[in-house]
Amino acid sequence: MIHQFINNGYYIVLDVCSGSVHVVDQLVYDVIALYEQFDAEEIKQKLSQYPPAEIDEALAEIRELKEQGKLFTQDVYRDAIVDFKKRKTVVKALCLHIAHDCNLACKYCFAGEGEYHGDRSLMSYEVGKKALDFLIENSGSRVNLEVDFFGGEPLMNFRVVRELVAYGRSRERECNKKFRFTLTTNGVLLDDEVMEFANREMSNVVLSIDGRREVHDRMRPTRNGKGSYDLIIDKFKKMAESRHQTNYYVRGTFTHYNLDFSKDVLHLADEGFEQISMEPVVAQPSEPYAIREEDLPELLKEYDKLAKEMVERKKAGKGFQFFHFMIDLTGGPCLYKRLSGCGSGTEYLAVTPWGDLYPCHQFVGMEQFKLGNVDTGVTNTEVVDEFKLCNVYAKEKCKDCFARFYCSGGCAANSYNFHGNLLEAYDVGCELERKRVECALMLKAALYEEGE
């Protein structure tokens, strides 16, 4: 399967099933579009604007790449992935809902202002400790274990975060495990003590900010209705600098209210942040801030605009990373990883403040998805089996999509929220993902030209 597109003046051919990315001239671009349907003579007739000798040259190069398994390859991975997904899995990551409470009242919060359809609650040290024990016991021979302190706002329960990190570290050597902790925070309670701790213990820090002050303040007010931008911006800058601009993300959400979100990304870059993520809000269509289908043309243009600007900034020595345009063409994930999905419900679980286990943070509070708790372990194996079967070959919509090796079939929670089952896909999200992959490949093409 071939996906070919033109972006920012680059003619790009993606051989979907081998993952090979080719930057071509217009001649080859046109020949490739006809290659499978027509023979050489017919192609020459159809492309009479090109000298026949040049077409012969193009055909020779295409044939060579085809022989090398880098063009017109077939999808032969189905059986391997179905077997792979059936294997006995281990738990390797937990999202600890350390606080179902929040000091902001973000309007789009999927956790319902931090409460996740349940009571405000903080995780106790005892529950957190059992969760870490559960992870160690269920991780098999896997060495690297990931734990994300999530909320609500985790810094509302910082004492327990600190104690759990200490407990995790104390068990690393005896169990031959290595914890990689992540802290996700809205920044309100961030201070020097937290920063010092985070820089010592956290592999990654995710700092929530939506971009321009007016955009951020509209959706992320404090509980008394005031904007929160001014409370956090300087602290986030300090945090980013103290981590030497690595191993963190400023992460924002864009909504129907700021379809021109590229300005928000660039605002964050102008403020000096070098690791930026900005994601479309996921919300029911009835919400006024939800992304609608009719917003798509504008959003797709915004991604193009952003990618183009990133090329310019990179050339000018002012480059930054945009999470959704990062793509690793040389040392990227293996095929198994690419086709088996995010691991929700099997390798990745969320833990509520009172110790219940769910397939991921987005399913928390949906009773039918409760998998068990930190005392009993996973008892609802029926739901786990459902997640085990989740892969791109089980999803009708993914079968012919060129982006399936990059998004891995998409988010199970999005699928469930929009279609009521795990094997669908959130169509608006898919459109955006396809554009992001194209932009990411264009960036690679542009930087390759620059000799990187």
Binding site: D25, E61, N144, N204, R251, S408
Partner: protein
């Protein structure tokens, strides 16, 4: 090649040989939390 520049070296098929060790990061643990982005993850064996 005169007309084609290939940006990738190994193919996905190549990655099956040593792949599937499962040591890599869980994708949602990075920065997304509301989408699924796997293509940008790093292989633990290449670190």
């Amino acid at each position: 090649m005169k007309h084609i520049k290939t940006l990738t070296d190994k193919t996905l098929k190549n990655t099956m040989e040593k792949g599937g060790c499962g040591e890599c990061q869980t994708s949602c643990q990075s920065a997304c939390k509301t989408s699924c982005t796997v293509g940008n993850q790093t292989c633990e064996q290449n670190k």
